[in-house]
């Protein structure tokens, strides 16, 4: 708990040699914790990606023995998609985008030596790691892992006799709840640090957008997750103590869970969206050498999005048996949310105007995010329109919609961020040519996977079905499924390029200077990589983060810490 932060707990780094275990596993340094989150997240990403490979193979070639896995049984299929979804959101997107970049960037960009509560920070990671372990164990218990979709709708999730995975269900809910606790602790740390520990001279509007985004995302998370934590407790009691909160046969209400889940679930999608929007803002300003267009407007749109995001949740439940009159309200709020997000997109596009754009790897990823996310965004409008969602709900159209948001956010966002901050994090440059090969090898197949899935969705293909050849009307579309799966295989193949580039650059990449991109923000004034404590003398801030190409100056950038 926050108030128990000890006064002398902070481990010293400067004075004595530390053991490897102490330094890397039990460190309280925000940078090490960021790495722990990142590598754990990537490890989980490999699992989530592997699951996607297995079930996409099953969909394209029903009943085959999938290499590295074997034949996929119906229950295994359900467990694979359930855990794929949950892992990608809770154990990849959140740790990588929010926790890893948040931990790494917040102290460095705000010019302080660490988070305000380093030990709470470490605890947050440890609880997160525990949640990973619980989730991994759940795959191997009798009955198998939870298979009731990442949304965990009761009574399927609450009654073992229905799901046939009683233990798996419990461990799954427990893992998710633990993950929430970890991010609550992390969130308190992020928000307090950003509010209280900025460098002298750094005013509200001098904070880099990515820090704003991560902090607002943390607040959104804290404000929305509470009811679901309460819901998780109720669900755990239903599973294990025999209560009937969600059991209609004994006086409960299953739809209550849906409200609790989506009240969190929709803000959650913006929780993962915002950090990536922040990363993209940093990258496009640096590589367009441009001041960010309308900094304050971006903040207003983020606030508006945040507030509105609490009012739209039932658009996931249009056909779930809610009062039909409520649908009108949620259609209006859902469509309204397109306005701040559209505005944000327009601002980013406007930032390019008058720039001097270099298309290197980080910039390619950042621009690709904008181009691809727009597809995900506009397809959300079809679903938000209540009348249309009657047909679209639970089809692959929804699936393609949210992969067109999540993939850009999680995968593209991660690649953008890592290729941009790699020199700072590891002190070496990544290979730009390999980076570009990896970029095209990922982006093109990505579209070839999910554009076909939109079409299948329009054709009425529903989600979470392990073999469509059982459906006479859908069997004819098998070639489309094969196309999507083939594109996935190509994409997975190209990830090897990244892995190679990453490792090779770590070992023998060109040594990175302090500020390879000639950027303004404070992290680039620290050594690459920054030592424990980040700076010998903490910086002071004199201006905003986006003063690029200021007329009358010789150099086209103007670091925040350079006295006027």
């Amino acid at each position: 708990m926050a108030e128990t932060v000890p006064s002398h707990g902070h481990e010293e780094a400067g004075h004595h040699e530390e053991g490897w275990v102490r330094k890397y596993l039990f460190s309280t340094d925000h940078k090490i914790i960021a790495m722990q989150y990142m590598f754990t997240g990537l490890f989980m990403g490999l699992i989530g990606g592997f699951f996607a490979y297995v079930f996409r193979m099953q969909l394209a070639f029903p009943g085959i023995e999938v290499p590295l896995f074997g034949v996929v049984s119906p229950n295994e299929y359900n467990a694979l998609i359930t855990n794929h979804g949950a892992i990608m959101i809770f154990w990849v997107a959140m740790p990588v985008l929010l926790a890893a970049f948040g931990n790494y960037l917040i102290p460095l960009m705000l010019g302080c030596d660490d988070m305000v509560f380093p030990r709470l920070n470490r605890l947050s990671y440890q609880v997160f790691l525990l949640s990973v372990v619980v989730l991994l164990i759940s795959f191997f218990v009798p009955g198998g892992g939870f298979a009731g979709a990442w949304t965990m709708y009761p009574p399927l999730s609450s009654i073992g006799a229905y799901s046939l995975t009683p233990l798996g269900s419990t461990l799954f809910v427990l893992a998710v709840a633990l993950e929430f606790v970890a991010f609550l602790m992390g969130g308190i740390n992020f928000v307090t640090t950003a509010m209280n520990s900025r460098a002298p001279g750094m005013k509200m509007y001098d904070i880099p957008i990515v820090v704003w985004m991560i902090v607002i995302a943390s607040i959104l998370f804290m404000a929305s997750v509470g009811p679901l934590i309460a819901g998780a407790i109720m669900l755990l009691f239903d599973q294990n103590l025999g209560t009937a909160f969600f059991d209609p046969q004994r006086g409960g209400d299953p739809v209550l869970w849906q409200h609790l889940f989506w009240f969190f679930g929709h803000p959650e999608v913006y929780v993962v969206l915002l950090p990536t929007l922040g990363i993209v803002a940093e990258i496009i300003t640096v590589f367009a050498r441009k001041k960010l267009f309308a900094y304050r407007t971006i903040l207003y749109t983020v606030f508006a999005t945040g507030v509105l995001s609490f009012t739209v949740w039932a658009h996931h439940q249009f056909v779930a048996g809610i009062d039909p009159r409520m649908a009108h309200v949620f259609t209006v709020t859902t469509l309204l949310i397109s306005i701040p997000i559209a505005e944000m997109m327009f601002v980013y596009i406007a930032t390019l105007y008058g720039g001097s754009i270099t298309l290197n790897t980080p910039m390619l990823w950042a621009l690709a995010f904008i181009a691809e996310f727009l597809i995900g965004g506009v397809t959300g409008i079809f679903l938000g329109a209540s009348g249309e969602d009657i047909y679209m709900h639970d089809t692959y159209f929804v699936l393609a919609h949210f992969h067109y948001t999540f993939f850009p956010i999680t995968i593209i966002g991660f690649y953008a961020g890592i290729s941009y901050w790699f020199p700072k994090m590891f002190g070496r440059m990544m290979n730009d040519r390999l980076g570009k090969i990896h970029f095209w090898g990922t982006i093109i197949p990505f579209n070839l996977i999910f554009i076909p899935l939109f079409v299948l969705g329009l054709a009425g293909q529903h989600r979470r079905i392990y073999d469509f050849t059982n459906y006479p009307d859908l069997a004819a579309y098998q070639p489309v499924r094969v196309l999507a799966t083939s594109a996935l295989l190509v994409m997975l193949g190209f990830q090897v390029v990244f892995l190679y580039n990453f490792i090779a650059s770590l070992i023998r990449g060109e040594k990175a200077p302090k500020n390879p991109w000639q950027a303004n923000t404070l992290e680039w004034t620290a050594d690459s990589p920054p030592p424990h404590g980040n700076w010998k003398e903490l910086p002071t801030v004199y201006r905003g983060p986006y003063e690029y190409s200021v007329p009358g100056r010789k150099s086209d950038y103007w670091p925040q810490n350079e006295p006027a």
Partner: protein, 245 residues
């Protein structure tokens, strides 16, 4: 109105209910509305990347975007998006009202029961009245008469299921402990898929059924074959549907 817009879905799944064409038209409307914006954004976006690519000796401009004259490039489009939103909302709400909120008087009523992992369809028998001894209960087969306004009473015996008929563009979750009433009017004869659209356990993927939409003569023959009695014509039997729930 909406049903007169061209359909982009028809080619993939036929439209076989009175409101199916409305939903297809709504899709087209939204497609065009957001499509305009989408294409415009992408074109401007790629043009900017090309136009302002790095060139020797051409420095970037310094634009803060805080002045009104600059911000209007954002403000006007975003007001325009609002107008598009209003159009979409109005159309969507009308379709929704028609399909889910308004409940026209039925000529026939069927009961749809979901359970792990099959659908049971209870058809009114020869007397054309549901919940009488001559009802015809079929597993995974729904037989309907074309151009007849049906009510469905949707129930579940165990977990959540979802009754989805793509050719009708209709979908409704079934909730244990509740009876949910909705309606449809088949407009086209043929045989198509019914799917379960809510994960319901191991057999969810197998919880498909078939819908058979028949002409009055075919339907009467089916009832005859099932029960050995020939049914009364529907119009005469439309009224005495009072015994509900």
């Amino acid at each position: 109105m909406l049903e007169r817009l061209p359909s982009m879905i028809d080619g993939l799944v036929p439209a076989a209910s009175t409101y199916a064409r409305d939903i297809d038209g709504l899709f087209t409307l939204i497609f065009v509305s957001v499509g305009i914006w989408f294409v415009a954004s992408q074109v401007i976006f790629f043009w900017l990347i090309f136009r302002f690519r790095k060139r020797e000796g051409v420095p970037a401009q310094y634009i803060a975007g805080e002045q009104k004259s600059e911000k209007k490039w954002i403000t006007y489009p975003h007001l325009a998006v609002l107008v598009f939103d209003v159009v979409i909302v109005v159309a969507a709400v009308r379709v929704w009202y028609d399909v889910k909120q308004a409940l026209p008087e039925p000529q026939q009523t069927v009961r749809v029961i979901g359970q792990q992992w099959a659908w049971t369809f209870v058809h009114p028998g020869p007397d054309r009245i549901l919940d009488t001894p001559d009802d015809i209960a079929k597993v995974n087969e729904l037989h309907l008469e074309v151009d007849t306004l049906y009510h469905y009473k949707l129930e579940s015996k165990d977990v959540l299921h979802s009754f989805s008929v793509p050719v009708f563009r209709l979908k409704q979750d079934a909730i244990p402990g509740r009876v949910i009433t909705g309606w449809f009017t088949p407009t086209r004869t043929g045989e198509w898929d019914i799917q379960c659209a809510e994960i319901c356990g191991i057999g969810h993927g197998l919880m498909g059924a078939r819908i058979h939409i028949e002409t009055p003569a075919q339907h009467a023959a089916w009832i005859q074959q099932q029960t050995g009695q020939s049914p009364t014509p529907i119009v005469a039997a439309a009224r005495p549907q009072a015994r509900e729930e």
